[in-house]
Amino acid sequence: MKSDITKVTTHINPNEALIFERSQPGRVGYRLPPLDVDEQPISEIVPREFLRDDDLDGVPEVSEVDVIRHFVRMSTWNYSIDQGMYPLGSCTMKYNSRLNEKVARIPGFAALHPLTEAEDAQGALEVIHDLQEDLAEITGLAGVSLQPAAGAHGEMTGVMIIRAYIDARDGAEASAKRRTMLIPDSAHGTNPASAHLSGFSVKTIRSTTEGLTDLAHLRELCAGGDVAGLMLTNPNTLGLFETNIQEICRIVHDAGGLVYMDGANMNALVGVARPGDMGVDVIHLNLHKTFSTPHGGGGPGCGPCCCTKELEPFLPVPRIVKEAGQFKLDFNYPQSIGRVKAFFGNYGMMLRALAYIQTHGNDGLREATEAAVLNARYVANGLTSDYEKPFSAPPMHEVVFTDKRQTRKGVHTLDIAKRLIDYGFHPMTIYFPLIVQGAMLIEPTESVGRQELDQFIDAMRSIAREAVEDPDLVLNAPHSTRIGRLDEAAAARKPVLRWKPKQAAFAS
């Protein structure tokens, strides 16, 4: 189905200086009620030597109108989900419901202090408890902690749990010999980084030419007896389901290790298959992906950690439990790895995720998964004629292509990505996973309609044509944005990480 490929045009767009360049002495954007207690000289409250002596020099002085215009103008420079398809592979950029935003702003939640006594926060604790139950059901893993603030935080939590479990199981000494974490070469960077944080050394597993975990290599690595565990993403970062997952878990378990699953790709599985049933011991979820809590330009996230009954005693404290109809904080888990974050984690995200789950309902959750996988399959289908698809297996929720054919004309993945911008699309994830040269990882999610998928396919095909007929057009893209490609190398060489008043700009 051919579509009209002009998803965008160009239009006037406001310029805006840094707020510090806009600041004018004497402008104010706030008003407080007058102080209603008798004022004392401040130095009688705080000794001079502890008082600020720079008069907050440099902090901007602007009016409320200035602030509104400043941010509204800058906002128009962003692409966002609300403007269309955002096919960042591995990021699951799905629709962020307004309803969930409203729920998170209900005063009874938004104004609740985290140290409120449990009996005065029963509703808030019930939300945590209910979400824990739902996530346990969805993952097939009974133990859940919502404390981690993002995926990587959940990884650290999960890996520390593995370590604590093995310490307990084998005793410190034997456990000390198990300090290897196996991670596929296709894994996300946070996996090895999190393993390292937990004091593990990383060994990399090769992927097969089919894009799956190399069982032979896995067996070989497990033979050493030093393996504490495996961190596997499933579907993996190539968008492929690890068909041998059961066998993989068996191998690791037989070697005395545990299986950690990176749940960033759960949007391919919710309601269809459960990690717990596959033999996975512990997993993290990204509520800011699969469960649609807004990405907010980089966060906040929420990375719940779910594990088997066996591992439950090691979860962070406090646990939120239900006893005789009352919800309470339970600190009494002597084997716990401890606390990974102050208070309860990113609570506002929990409210949104629970609203997402309840709005979809059990059938809707499965429906979303099916729609997401179908959309990816549809794109895969539409692009194979023009782009190199390195793996033949049918993709799940995302699909990887490469720039192999385009490179002949000197056009690379980065250029294709930048050119997509001219067609009105946010580019896909590029150069990840690292094992695929010139990778283009495309994840449409369920939130895109067929017409826009067709527009995307047409745009990609058109770029493939351009790469042959007019490579420079692609190499110099984007052509329609307010700024062109920025010199990132120069930026990193002499980094300017903050504004400074002109005169001072050279100092330091």
Binding site: S75, N78, I483
Partner: protein, 449 residues
Amino acid sequence: MRYIPNSPEERTEMLHQVGLNSAADLFDSIPEDLRLARNLNTTAALSEIELLAGFEQLAARNTGAKRTSFVGAGAYQHYIPTIVDHIISRSEFFTAYTPYQPEIAQGTLQTIFEFQTLVCQLTGMEVANASMYDGSTALAEAVLMAERVTKRSKVVACGAIHPEYLEVISTYVQHAGIELLHAPNHPETGQASDARELLDDKTAALVVQSPNFFGCIEDVAALAEKAHSVGALLIVAITESISLGLLKSPGASGADIVVAEGQSFGVPLSFGGPYVGLFATREKYARQIPGRLVGEAYDKEGRRGFVLTLATREQHIRREKATSNICTNEGLIALAATVYLETMGRRGLQEVAAQCAQKTAYAAKRIGELQGFSIPFTAPRFNEFVVRAPLAAKQLLSRLALERNITGGLALSRYYPDQPNEILVCVTEINSRAEIDALVEGLASQATM
């Protein structure tokens, strides 16, 4: 499902187009026996009306949210200008991803650059990152960074650091071969004691919170000098960032790394999160910073823009050798803090801080005069202080709540079972004189019972 654009009919057509007969076929690569044969045992779909009613009912059971409150202890109630929520609710901000494509993400990038600058200005430091999860994890990362920078393995933490922050540090460092020592606080002043005997040439960092957990303002300059004298770094943690509007900046006092909880900057209490961790340090350590950094950059035509930079520190490039495993941070909350700081501006931040200090001084004076109550610590304070009551704090506070609908503070027994009668009281610009007087009366009435 109203969030899924394609109708069932459209999806059937698409399935045929990709050569499949049914949705089930999409999952052929999943072994039969792993496929869930049943529906998930979660609730059936709810309409907006039903869902909102349900959450409103739950919210109504959070009785604590409706009380006049004097609880701080790491999360503070402050006035939030209305425009903050309006701006962070702009589709262009809250539905955007991490700014990986600068040509269509300058809105996010420029705001982060402003955030980094504001954090530097307030903390008195030279570089700041794009945010950490919260104050507690930022502090843990600071400790790990100190170890990287100094290649030393001992860390001394002053006593009056937020107990939950200390727990988080312990969790983070437990596998990093770091030895964590605790220096007791001075019983009269409530400030850090002379930790000199704990500091030596193995010490990577001295960690202090100021104002500390008991509300006492620490002598940061003196501690910096002690730390530096043994070649250790001074890490300053701040839980109440509004104090930066009044108190000397840690940077000016010699801190090497400053971390803070930014919740006080326009972020609702929201039962503990999402908040935002501030992380700032010296320029020379820029390449050791955890998390994302935004820097200035130019295009071919010389137009200024902003990009994510120094990425070689990060996990997606360095993997296990990265400065941290953090990826997603607290972008939107950092934006909220940026809007807050720019709206309040130079004068507003000074006035908020001054009002907190003035009202707290008033409250402390009145409570200190109460029969049976005392204020144990003598150190200067900002907007929190400890009150020693003539009876068990938990009991006193629950009576106050019941009888006067006031949450009078935090019973320190939550963290220090050996301090049953102590209450940590916080007063901000939100608390009117009338509320403070009601608290004072409430306390008085309890004492005389």
